[in-house]
Amino acid sequence: MWRLRSYLRPHRAALVVMLSTALAGIVVAISIPLVIRELIDGPVTDGELGPVLPLGLLVLALGVLEAFLTWWRRWIQSNAVLNVETAMRRDLYAHLQALPMTFHSRWQSGQLLSRATTDLSSIRRFFGFAMLFLLINILQVTAVTVVLLVMYWPLGLVVACTAAPIVWLSMRFENEYVLVSRRVQDEQGDLATRAEEAAVAIRVIKSFGRNRYISDQYEAAARTLHATSMEKVRLSARFWTFLEVIPNLAVVLVLLLGAIGVGRGALTPGELVAFITLMLSLVWPVSSLGVILAMSQEAMTSAARIHEIFDTRSDIVGGTRTIERPRGHLRFEHVDFAFPDALDEPVLRDVNLDIRPGETVAVVGATGSGKTSLTALVPRLFDVTGGAVTIDGVDVRELDLVHLRQLVATAFEDPTLFSMSARENLTLGRADASDADIEEALDVAQAGFVRDLPWGLATRIGEQGMALSGGQRQRLALARAVLSRPAVLVLDDTLSALDVHTEALVEEALRRVLVDTTGLIVAHRASTVLLADRVALLQDGTITHVGEHRELLATVPAYRELLAADSSLEEAVS
């Protein structure tokens, strides 16, 4: 938490205003009942009319001042704390964008989101509220108690004695409450997962007529949540009841002792009224102290969770070299690769492959043989654990990262579309692309359907926009990669969701692009392989054969196994 103080630095003036207005507010709040006491004891009791007006006006002035101070504090505070929160969120986002794939494959975006929203809000609340009032409430409680003790010490003592159990109670309550709330949250989450599953799989459920079965399961989970929620209700009912009972019991005692005091002349009626008013004004600061302490604890936890991210450093740092006139000579030299959380299970080992400028090589291998990992090494989404990947003889790790990723463009099998306009999605890698460039890329990828969207290129696509079919998404991803005019084009099984006809058209157009671009293509269909000049067979993480398609088909049984069509079909054809 202390480390986040740098975010507060620009708002030092605001913090001073917040603190001083809050303190002044307390002084005013305490003085109002004291003036009222003067009024009751003086003019009202003694039957003088003279001082009523000035004292009454003083109460009025103090009342207005109190309201003004509250307004000022909140006004300043809203701006300051929101700026702090926004700045932290911005930095968090920037840091996350820079962290490598190894980090992101370990963290789900939901987990990251809860840090960017829930945790930051909890820190914001601490800065805007808990931090301030922790100090102020303690001061207020102390000050009022002192005033009360001075006024009439036996009563003051009664009040001081009731404060302790309230603080203790509210702290204990808050802790228990956090526990049961977390359980409720978990159970709500479980229920949400079930609702989600039932919604997504509705057609499967209907097909098998299992609606009742699924509903019963859901209902059982809802019943558990109901029970836990009732536990929470009972807990907070008990707490709020006690919270009201304790001050009221204090009122009973104060009234009893105070009235006796007044009767015996130890206390004036005005003092008694002021006393009760002041005492009741303590209820909130005292009871909230427990809540504030718990909030601070929560903010500490949040800060720790934020720092967990800020403390992670990217291990993929760009070099300084650039290639003036890239030819696109891509080489894998004795490349080893393993994911950092499974270093003893290498995904790739001793991979050697030389792709000459302008040449296109297809990588073929069974599921899980490491094809996708191989392609991810080129733009340094992951780094090799042994050997090197070079472009035009330069190790990719020595290249400037932005420059490298300009040289290499990848069209992924599972194309990521963002909830933005089609244009924004297409120009991901080249924001300055002209309309003509875009048209050309759309033609190559047979993605002309974009023009027929309701608002053409301006149509929002992705989750929050127009839904596209798998084949359409892949064609967009392909257009995106082609548009960035890379020296090396990587196609990671980009055509798998296309129908036969479209695939043929795309391939024809791609051939033209690939004439002077170096291509690395992951394929599991013979038709795609034919795009390539040569084929590399990846088996168990290493390249076992390189050659032309026909040649491998004829000589390597494992290759035939992977690419030849259904055996019964072969019979039918022959």
Partner: protein
Amino acid sequence: MTPTGKSAETEWRGIAKSDEDERIERIERKFVGGSGTLLRELLRPYKFAIWVLIAIVLVENAARLSIPYLVKEGIDTGIPPIRDDNNLEPLFVIVGIVLLATVTQAVARNFFLVRSGKVGQDVLFEVRRRVFRHFQALSPAFHDDYTSGRVISRQTSDVDAIYEMLETGFDGLVTAALTLVGTAGLLLFLDVELGLVALCCGPFLFWLTNWFRKSSASSYRVTREKVALVIVHFVESMGGIRAVQAFRREPRNQEIFDDVNDQYRAANLVAFRLVAWFMPGIRLIGNVTIAVVLLYGGYLAYHGEVTVGVLAAFLLYLRQFFEPMMEISQFYNTFQSASAALDKLAGVLREEPGVPEPTRPAALPDARGELRFDGVDFAYVEDRRVLDDLDLRVPAGQTLAIVGTTGAGKTTVAKLATRFYDPTDGRVLLDDIDLRDLTSDVLRRAVVMVTQENYLFSGTIADNIRFGRPDATMAEVEAATRALGAHDFITALPDGYDTVVANQGGRLSAGQRQLVAFARAFLADPAVLILDEATSSLDVPSERLVQQALRTVLAGRTAVIIAHRLSTVEIADRVIVMEHGRIVEDGAPEDLISAGHGRYSDLHQAWLDSLA
């Protein structure tokens, strides 16, 4: 937000808001105000409990409100006897009553909180149960329009909004309203003149609260919108970080994020500043009222028209008067969103299932599996016919493949055969019984569809296979997987059949998922199997495995296969080619190929070429 900011945003976000969205919103808006009816209906079983609660809350508030009055009595009638002849008795009586009031209040309050909480939770449970069952009962036609995202948010964020209201706002609202009315009454009772002076603050309070209510409703909406933008952009950037980094998208992303982040900040600032005006505003009115009451009360006291005790009671009551006002404002947004949520849920609950259960169901003890389409017309949208007078008879045991271009009506045939939809005209018959005369339990036992989704539920592999027949023994499950050639890969998994399938089957390959889906259908053992086949994402060895399993699954039952790739057609007894909702070719695959130059034989040739 500046106008330029808006246009810049539109530029990257693009335009959405399709016709379909508007239609859905109509469904949701159809029953605006439905929340009231729904709420009444939900609360009906608790009529008695609610009356008890109302009585309790009245007692509680009476006890609470009596305390300042009793303090006044203590000062006015308790003190003089002590002063005069040291007689403590009147004071003891009053203090005793205060104590009694305190205890009464505590007991009543606890009872109220627990009981009202119980009613709230019961209602919430009922809402969850009803909404879930209703979504399950609604026909797939409804689910085609109403996306799963919407279904989910009805059951999560909307239900949560109601939960939130029950948890935070309900009790506060009741207490605040009663305090307001009760206090006003008591003030007038204590002293009419002074009471009227104090209540002069009423119009100001009303005006301020009303202003706050309106402005915070709109600012709340804006804040929700802005935070949604932040969340979407954040989640999508992190989820798609591979594409972001590969295409050097970081600077542009940061630009966009800074923009939405700042818009969110600005919206929040508006909301915070509303509160910054409202809270001190209430306090100002309160403090001014106190000062006026003091001035006027002091004047009256001077003339002996009010006592010190009355003045003290007034001050205490006024404190109670203003505090709940500030609290109500905190809960206002909760109420707002809960009421909107109830409206939406009410709308959904009034949707009728498109395929109703029969009133007089026909019996079908043992389905043979003969499927017949008899003059079937079908249109999803009026006047846009997808099927046109379709006649088709699939004899029991036949494997029929349907091929054709996208939009030819292949999938519609499957959806009618499984009664996901009912035909617009004509009949679909199973063993000569109209599907509309069969209960869904009977129909689903006889006809099962395996879709291309291959959805795996969270749970073990065995649970997933048993999904169609939960009472199947382990031996039966294994028999099914062995028959399909899936037994080996399942036993090779870390926990075999008990391996937990995480995240929609993430650990299994696409081919393996399909085998599990087949095993599920095989175990359910329906007379008719409808297969929406899509093996595009499988590599050749997996596809081969799946094709082999398919032969086993289809043996001895009627099957309709929607063929997207032609590899499946090879195992069909009969192929129909569809175009524009009509059958254009029909025959055994070999016959159609040897006939040459038909549509099917063209498709087949193109496919052979693609295999290279």
